[in-house]
Structures are given as C-alpha cells and as structure tokens.
Symmetry: D2
C-alpha cells in the first residue's frame, strides 16, 4: 500500500549545529511515525541531516535528485530518484509529499514552499517565516511551528484530515 510520504525541504548549504540538529530530529520523528521521508536527496544541508535522522531511526528515505547520475546523493538515501531535471525536480518533491515541512533555506526552498501551496499541500515552516506574499498566497495551507515536535503534530493532523 502506498506509504505516507513527508517531504522535508530546506537549505542545501552547510548548517550550523542547531539547524543540523533540528533537521536530524525532524527526520527521526518522521521515521518514528512510520512515514517515509522525501528530500531533494543531496549529501548536503537539510537534505543530508534529515535523511540521516530518518535512516538512524530505521525509516525509509527517498531522495529526488537533480542529476541524472545520482552522484550528489546522501549516503542515507534508500531510494534515489534520478531525474536529470535540475530544479524541475522541486515540483516532483512537493507533489510526491503528502505534507511538506520547510526548514530555513534559500530560493530553492522558497520555490518548493510556493509550489507546494500551488499544489494544495499543507506546508509547515519551522523557525522561520516565508513572508507576507507567501502567506497571502497560501490559502490557509501555511502553518508555523517552533519545534520539531510541534511540526510533527501539525503534520499528523493534516494527514488525518486528508484521509477522512
């Protein structure tokens, strides 16, 4: 049966200790709930830290990669989807996620938040604010959390609503 997939987006750059810890814990908590984790698959930033968290908690990790070779993949990815499509894979990331969690990031992350809202997905931002324009465009789908626990609780509620 098709598994519930939670997407985790965020910076692809090196993270400070706090951000890395947060991404790791989000990944771990997704795995603990029995959900699959989906990220952009790279061995960097939020993608790598969240994948490591889910992997070490025994979860399934899906990486939707920019390249056609998969050379950039995190070693914590179980299933590598090699798109060869660059940032167009951001669309696949959000469509394939039942709910999206967005950690702080740059333009790529903002594109994923916007594409997720466009696709009618609930987006949970942890510890940052995607901005007033995004909030106006969100149609009530953009939620805010300050901790991993709070984010996971919002995701659980969104999924429950989704299935009823």
């Amino acid at each position: 049966m098709v598994r519930t997939v939670i997407g985790v987006m965020g910076s692809g750059h090196p993270l400070d200790h706090h951000a890395r810890e947060l991404a790791y814990r989000v990944g771990a908590m997704i795995a603990d709930r029995g959900w699959a984790l989906l990220t952009g698959g790279s061995a960097t930033g939020v993608m790598d830290a969240a994948s490591r968290g889910a992997h070490e908690a025994g979860g399934l990790v899906v990486g939707v990669l920019k390249s056609d070779s998969g050379a950039e993949a995190s070693s914590f990815v179980d299933v590598a989807i090699r798109t060869g499509m660059g940032d167009a894979r951001n669309v696949i990331n959000v469509l394939s996620s039942d709910v999206v969690i967005a950690l702080p990031g740059g333009a790529g992350t903002l594109s994923e938040v916007a594409l997720a809202l466009k696709a009618g997905k609930t987006v949970v931002a942890i510890g940052w604010e995607p901005g007033q324009s995004m909030r106006q465009a969100s149609d009530g789908l953009l939620a805010y959390a300050t901790t991993a626990e709070e984010a996971i609780a919002i995701v659980a509620t969104a999924i429950a609503h989704h299935h009823h």
Copy 2:
C-alpha cells in the same frame, strides 16, 4: 540568431483594469524593444494581457503551456510550447527568459520568482514586494519598479550587463 527573451509572470486570475493595463503595456514595450515575450501561455490574467500587448505591438509571443494539448493557450501566442508538465514548466519559463518581470500574482508567480533567483536571473517586480525571505535569497538579483517604463529600463540595463 537566438533572440533576447523577456519573461512576464503574474496572476493567472482575472485582472482588474489597472493590472490588465499594466501587463498589456509591459508586453507592448517588450515588443517595441525587439525582444520576444515569454509567458506561461494561458488565455488568462497577466499571461493573456501581456501577450496581447506584445502581439498588438508586432512582437513575437512564446507561450510555455502546462498542458499537452495547448487548449488553454492565449490567442495572442505565436509559438506554443506544450510541455504536459504542469507547474514544472515554471522552471522552463525562467530558464528560457534572459530577464524575468514579475507582476503581482499568487503561489505560482512566487515559485517563478524563486526559481528565477535560483537560476541567477534578474527579476523585476512591478508594484509589489515578494517578501523579505525572497529578498534575502535574492543575492541582489531582485529589483523593484513602480511603472512599466521603469521596469523596462531595468531590464535593458540587465541585458546590457549580461552581454558584456
């Protein structure tokens, strides 16, 4: 020789008189400069109004469409690129544009602004503010204009820098 292409993004919903007029004038001024206009190609909102403006000024209009059939195309589109890829065509829109002009819009427009910044393109927002997160992510590539004339002047400067 490959033509200079200016992308115009913005709301796909019905526009009020002022917004329609602005999009129309932007399209017309793009054509007047000898640039090709690129939009998402639909017969609605900013896409249709800008395409009409460029068409009536004798310009070339490229529409990069979501559908595989092209059924949604504006009648002012000359070249219809039928992608069958839904919002993934937003990536093609910004990659194929030398500079992007963003009129007010929703989540789709925000995704295009973010994707354009990610791709290193200059984005000119006319009459709105994509938000502080976008500005932080913009690496100096996000410019603001209040009129069509001002926007076109910024585009011309960006293209000149680009070619030198």
Copy 3:
C-alpha cells in the same frame, strides 16, 4: 545506502495470463534478490503485475506516476513518486533504474527502451525484439532473454560489472 533499483517496463494494457504471469515472476525475482522494483506505477498491465509480484515476495516497490494526484497508482506500490509530467516521467523511470527489463509493450515501452539506451543503461528484453533500428542504436546495451530466470541472470551480471 542507496538501493539497487531494477526498472520493469511493458504494456499498460490488460495482459493475457501468460504475460501477467511473466511480469509477476520478474517482479518476485527482483524482490528475492533484494533489489527494489521501479515501474511506471499504474494499476494496469505489466506495472501492476510486476508490482504485485515484488510486493508478495516482500520487496520494495517504487512507482513513478504520470499524474500529480497518484490516482492511477497500483495498490502494490510502496513509494509513489507523483510527477505530474505525463510521459516525461519515462525519462525518470530509466534514469532511476540501474538496469531496465522490458516486457512487450507499445510506444511507451519503446520510448523507455530508447531512452534507457540513450542513458547508457543495459536493457533486457524478455520475449520480444525491439527492432533492428533499436539494436543498431543500442551500442551493445540491448540484451535478450526468453524467461524471467534468464533475464534476472543478465541483470545480475550487468549490476556486478557496474559495481566493479
């Protein structure tokens, strides 16, 4: 660690008993080897039968779907990648597969065989012949098998070469 993924392509139309059995056994043998199965994900034809085979053998089934909703997904898919890209997902299918097994099919299957060869992947055709043009274009990457066992043996050899 990134798992080995074997793609199985073939007709999306209803299968006769023999073809269904073949696809089922190919899927089951992929799971038995510990490889993940990747298909186009639909609840029809080869995709459904192979997914069922892998699922019932305890394997992991990845479905790369045409739609953005996933409504067409086989109930034997574990991980649904919703692309919203129609046949452009055929490219993702072959790039994400380490080796491709092609059962008889129509134009979609032929496109996947051609795209896989283009991407430098080994393709194993079971019980059919993709044609002389495809063979000329194959650069030695197109192999033929008459049974599931024979195909799996070729796949195993190709993977072993790949990893050395």
Copy 4:
C-alpha cells in the same frame, strides 16, 4: 495566432553530405510553407542543418534545448527554450510539434518517434525504417517518405486533416 509547428528530429552527430543536404532542404521547405520549425536546438547534426535551412529560407526556428544555459544552441535558432531537463525535453519536442519528421538517428531519435506516436502525432520517417515494433505500436500514425518533397506533402495532408 498559434503557428503551425513542424518538428524535425534526427541524429545529433556529424552528418555526411547527403544527410546534411536532406535536413537542410526539409528545414527550408517547412519555412517556405509558413510553418515554424522545431528541433532539439543543438548546433550539431540534423538539428543544425534543418535550422539552417529554415533560417536561410526566412523561417522561424524554435530550439528546445537540453541544457539550462543554452550553450549548445545552433546559431540558426531564433527562440531558444532552455529546459535544463536533458532528454526529458524530447517529450516537449513532440508535444509542441503538430507533425514530426524523423530523419535517421540513434536512440534519442527513436525515443522521439515513440513518444510522438504515444502522443498521437503523425510521424514521417524519411529514408529509414524505425522497425517493426514501432510500426506495430504506431496505430497508423507512422508514414514513410523517400524525399523531402514527399515528406512535406504528407505533413501538409496531416495538418489539413488535423484542422478539419
């Protein structure tokens, strides 16, 4: 008004004199009919020769490129669609063409023939045979010509039927 677009596919490798001349003449005859030419846009093989033919006959040339930079573009391309999607742009090539002309080529060309047939497009092969499997999959959409003139006549008939 949306222009009629004829796609020309074929080898991306260097051509011998005869093949280059054929591609050039096909491009020129497309332009003479007032149709826009669409190719994969590269400065090599059939793409370049057909683009040159259309350009020198005063036609409009659309190139749908693999890269995100457009660096590979033929200098005879007027409108460069930069997809950044590699071979996934083959799908866009065929969807955006009203009819596809296929000159001899390799796996990429075969993928385009298959994708075009899948999309219900008429495909005219000049001077080669895509193979029996393709013919079986073609549902009557695959036509054969031995000269540029013959191919253009078939295209004209297909377009006329299409519009009625």
